[in-house]
């Protein structure tokens, strides 16, 4: 389980091998893939709507087929995405990509067992086949009749006016070119700027055997800027990010050129940076993307699948004290414009705000329908999937340490020798032992209560329960980063937000080279 910044193209290829491990498809044999489809798509002006094929009547029929051999629950999930990707490298718009993945899947679960089948065609007969295949997980339990689905009126947690994804393409090119020029203007030592722009419009349609029927559309944009500066034999890369579920007005608040300059400035700062220290010491982590820490340390361990299997270090600790008394952790699917935000999750449960930890006490797990069913609780609206080719898993949305009362500036005082993590990279965790790590992109030494010299990246590691007891102060400066989080679990990548105010820890192990 890991969180990372948007995956580079190479990583995407590597992940590709994992994510083809999708699900169970009907009609898998032979070359039946070139059938004239009964339905076309309706997104960005192409084809028709999902609901033209998947109306209340056909969805009911498919769910009846899915539960024909019994089962605790069944759902149908249809999706189409229109993606645009633009890469600038070497001062040139290197490539432009349109992607149009589209399909639907049917799931049945019976206790701990899951049957899933999908089709790259959204056609009634193909989905009836899929339902039949998915139902095979249940043997001789007798027929269960699903509740007739009814269209549900959804209240989105926020609205996006003039989504960036729908902007004129020339405007997108213009932003990318301006970012490139801005980054290069910072210093003649800047030798390379790469900008990866990605947006998508995603339509989903969900029907559930307890009577739910929901249609939703979500927009997302991510822009990553990576800048390399060279000085003699030294070569350093700085990075910055823009994005979220945002409209054009976002660029009035976050100036793309200023953000590109941040990456260039970071590369320049790193050029003069010393090696990071090694060993256990007091650590202060900057607000915002520093929330990778809570995502890895507690977030994954609270997810319902490892909880119900009993393999998480937090299994059975509901109501127990698991962190410092200052610690309050929230997972919020309703955070305005958040990467991890949604109206309904990918199994038809409305998104919600859940307090996971309060005053250091464990208050709630992160649950999808199946883990909730097995734990005899209610879903917290955290059932998410990477695409129609996968079944849902309990996943985080926007997860953060809530604001505290400390003045952020005061959090350094009293530290004779410590480490300040100004910008982080990705992280990962073993949810059974609780051992986690996350990479620091840019750090500073703390000497006698002051932030002093910049130091190069290093990994920070710790154990969840020990580290979260060692919180000494939480600032009042909460920020939730919505520009870059991609969370990977079981081969499924989903966008997430992470956040925290400035947080001080009595000790964390820093993996530098200077002893």
């Amino acid at each position: 389980m890991a969180i990372d910044e948007p995956i580079s193209r190479r990583d995407f290829l590597r992940h590709g091998a994992v994510l083809s491990g999708a699900a169970l498809a009907a009609g898998a044999s032979g070359l039946s893939w070139l059938k004239p489809p009964d339905a076309d798509a309706a997104i960005m002006g192409i084809g028709k709507e999902l609901r033209d094929v998947l109306n209340l009547e056909t969805v009911n029929q498919i769910l009846i087929e899915a539960l024909k051999r019994g089962g605790d629950f069944a759902d149908l999930f249809a999706e189409q995405r229109f993606r645009t990707m633009i890469v600038l490298d070497d001062q040139k718009i290197d490539s432009v990509t349109y992607g149009y993945p589209r399909g639907a899947g049917v799931r049945v679960f019976f206790r701990k067992q899951t049957g899933y089948a999908f089709s790259d065609e959204i056609a009634y007969n193909d989905l009836l086949d899929a339902a039949h295949v998915a139902s095979a997980v249940v043997l001789n339990q007798g027929i269960v009749a699903p509740v007739d689905v009814r269209a549900r009126v959804l209240t989105p947690p926020f609205s996006v006016m003039n989504p960036v994804a729908l902007m004129n393409e020339n405007t997108k090119f213009d932003i990318i070119r301006r970012m490139d020029a801005a980054a290069r203007s910072v210093s003649p030592k800047i030798v390379s700027v790469r900008i990866e722009y990605q947006d998508e419009a995603r339509d989903t349609l969900i029907g559930t055997s307890d009577g739910g029927y929901a249609i939703d559309r979500q927009y997302l944009v991510s822009i990553g800027c990576s800048v390399t500066a060279v000085n003699g034999p030294d070569r350093r890369t700085g990075r910055s990010f823009l994005g979220g579920r945002v409209g054009e007005d976002y660029f009035l608040r976050r100036d793309p050129e200023a953000v590109a300059k941040d990456a260039a400035q970071q590369a320049m700062t790193l050029l003069g940076a010393d090696p990071a220290p090694a060993g256990s010491m007091p650590v202060v982590i900057a607000p915002g993307w520093g929330g990778v820490l809570i995502h890895e340390s507690f977030g994954h361990a609270l997810e319902g699948d490892s909880i119900r299997r009993g393999t998480s270090l937090l299994s059975g600790l509901m109501g127990q004290k698991i962190g410092s008394p200052h610690l309050r952790v929230i997972d919020d699917a309703l955070w305005p414009n958040g990467r991890g935000s949604y109206t309904v999750d990918d199994e038809g449960t409305p998104g919600q705000r859940t307090v996971l930890v309060d005053g250091g006490y464990l208050q709630s797990f992160i649950l999808d329908r199946q883990s909730a069913f097995l734990l005899n609780q209610k879903s917290t609206g955290n059932g998410r999937r990477m695409s129609y080719r996968q079944w849902p898993l309990p996943r985080m949305t926007n997860t953060y340490i809530d604001r505290g009362t400390d003045d952020p500036a005061s959090l350094l005082s009293g530290i004779t020798k410590g480490f300040y993590a100004a910008d982080l990279g990705g992280g990962s965790v073993d949810t059974t032992s609780g051992n986690f790590n996350f990479a620091v992109q840019l750090g500073y030494l703390i000497e006698n209560g002051q932030r002093t010299k910049p130091v190069r990246g290093a990994v920070l590691i710790g154990n969840s329960l020990e580290t979260m007891q060692r919180i000494e102060g939480i600032g009042s400066d909460l920020q939730v980063d919505q520009t870059r989080g991609m969370c990977g679990k079981d081969g499924q990548m989903v966008p997430v937000g992470v956040g925290q105010p400035t947080v001080r820890f009595a000790s964390i192990t820093v993996g530098g080279t200077a002893i």
Binding site: R10, G21, A22, I46, D94, A276, R389, T513
Partner: protein, 447 residues
């Protein structure tokens, strides 16, 4: 209803693109069948039988590049997408190297990357294998449960053509066994996992052994503790060394080198590592997990030696980066239907040395054996390495107590030149493999 053959589909899509104004067009079509059983605590948790199809189309016009991918092969949708993609591509910047490979080579043969058993194995067979994985893990003392036990296989079909290279295709298979066991001593819970992957089913390690290895690894982690920070010799056991090599791979990418994002830029022909190190990327290794008859854009695949006894001999390239760099292509383009070709690893490995792991350990008075790494740790532009690891402490040449909660770090160029022993335990279970490697001195960050 009519069903078209893949070569006809590719032909149709390509001519559609060429009619709409593409000077050069490339079609890449994938059909992948994937079956896996996940077994836990005596029952099947999940049976996956998936089949995915997808089409990628690359178009070039005035040396500008556009790309589209779709799972929807409906003609009108495709038509609309093709026209839009060509229009979008007109906004790109022309690049001289934007040309599709135009030389046809005979695809490499005798790779043995397809095992016909994939057409006969049944889900029931997989259930038996997965159950054996879990049963054997549970036979290990102190192993109380598993996270998962998985047995599966994948069959892939790749179909390719471009304006210059006529239709070509290949099939490949992969089988795997994976087990992740949980051991407990009453206070601690620790996970150990083991996996094997092979092109041919009969080459797989037995499920009994995979399950037992997973269980033994979990038990070996019990009682692990940090050690104080130190600078000591560090041995990466073969599997961990393979992971290290995987992290290093991007530094050999031609694009990263050209764009100054690799610490190996400007080092071609120089000594970058100990003479004990030879690193190869072999796309034609018999039964290799990363072997294929041609690469992601139709170029001929080959065996590329990237480091020859310590000397950096070449970088790895796509057709475009090879042209930019003024060198011959290396056949290293990897892709899926939904991504543009980019440099990727085939079978990327450190060649066997001559040392036995046991003697490598005996020669260390005080140091660390790394058996596992976790998370991120490479800054390839700067050439810095820092990662979370676990393993065993070595005292007076003997393997001692288990350690965790520590990091190892170093400057990668110093690490590579400081390799003072290479094992002979290379075992191809992944696309990134290495025998055990000993680094003369790394920084261990601990308590």
């Amino acid at each position: 209803m009519p069903t078209s053959r893949p070569d006809e589909v590719l032909n149709n899509v390509r001519s559609m693109a060429e009619r709409s104004g593409a000077a050069e067009a490339e079609t890449y079509f994938e059909f992948v069948r994937f079956v896996e059983v996940r077994y836990r605590e005596g029952e099947v948790e999940l049976l996956q039988q998936s089949a995915i199809t997808g089409l990628g189309l690359r178009v070039l016009r005035d040396r500008k590049m556009g790309f589209l991918y779709t799972t929807n092969l409906n003609r009108t949708v495709l038509d609309e997408l093709v026209v839009r993609t060509i229009a979008l591509a007109s906004q790109a910047t022309p690049r001289d190297e934007n040309r599709l490979p135009d030389q046809q080579f005979p695809p490499q043969t005798n790779l043995e990357i397809e095992d016909p058993y994939a057409d006969r194995i049944t889900p029931q067979d997989l259930i038996v294998l997965a159950k054996a994985l879990e049963d054997n893990a549970l036979l290990v003392n102190k192993v109380k449960t598993t996270q998962t036990a998985r047995a599966g296989y994948v069959v892939g079909e790749t179909h390719f053509s471009n304006t210059f290279i006529p239709y070509q295709t290949f099939r490949n298979t992969q089988f795997w066994l994976y087990c992740s066991a949980v051991a407990t001593d009453g206070t601690q819970k620790r996970v150990g996992s083991f996996t094997d992957r092979k092109r041919n089913f009969q080459d797989l390690t037995t499920p009994d052994r995979v399950g037992r290895k997973a269980g033994e690894r979990a038990v070996a982690r019990l009682g692990a503790k940090p050690v104080p920070s130190a600078r000591v010799p560090v041995i990466f056991e073969a599997e961990a060394a393979g992971g290290f090599l995987g992290g290093l791979f991007g530094a050999f990418s031609g694009l990263n080198v050209l764009e100054q994002r690799s610490f190996l830029a400007g080092k071609r022909g120089s000594v970058i590592a100990s003479p004990l190190l030879t690193i190869v990327d072999d796309a034609i290794l018999r039964r290799g997990l990363g072997s294929r008859p041609f690469d992601g854009e139709g170029s001929q695949t080959r065996r590329n030696v990237v480091v020859d006894r310590g000397v950096l001999t070449r970088y790895l390239h796509t057709a475009a980066t090879a042209r930019r760099d003024g060198v011959n292509p290396t056949g290293s383009a990897w892709r899926g239907y939904d991504s543009l070709p980019a440099v990727g690893a085939s079978n990327f490995y450190v060649d066997n040395g001559s040392s036995k792991l046991s003697s490598m350990i005996e020669q260390v008075p005080n140091g660390l054996l790394v058996t596992g790494t976790a998370g991120f740790g490479f800054d390839l532009a700067a050439g810095d390495y820092s990662q979370q690891v676990e393993g065993n402490w070595i005292e007076k040449g003997k393997l001692g107590r288990p350690v965790e909660g520590i990091t190892v770090a170093g400057k990668i160029s110093d690490m590579l030149t400081g390799v003072d022993a290479v094992g002979r335990d290379l075992d191809f279970r992944s696309q990134f493999c290495s025998p055990s490697i000993r680094f003369k001195e790394l920084t261990v960050g601990g308590a």
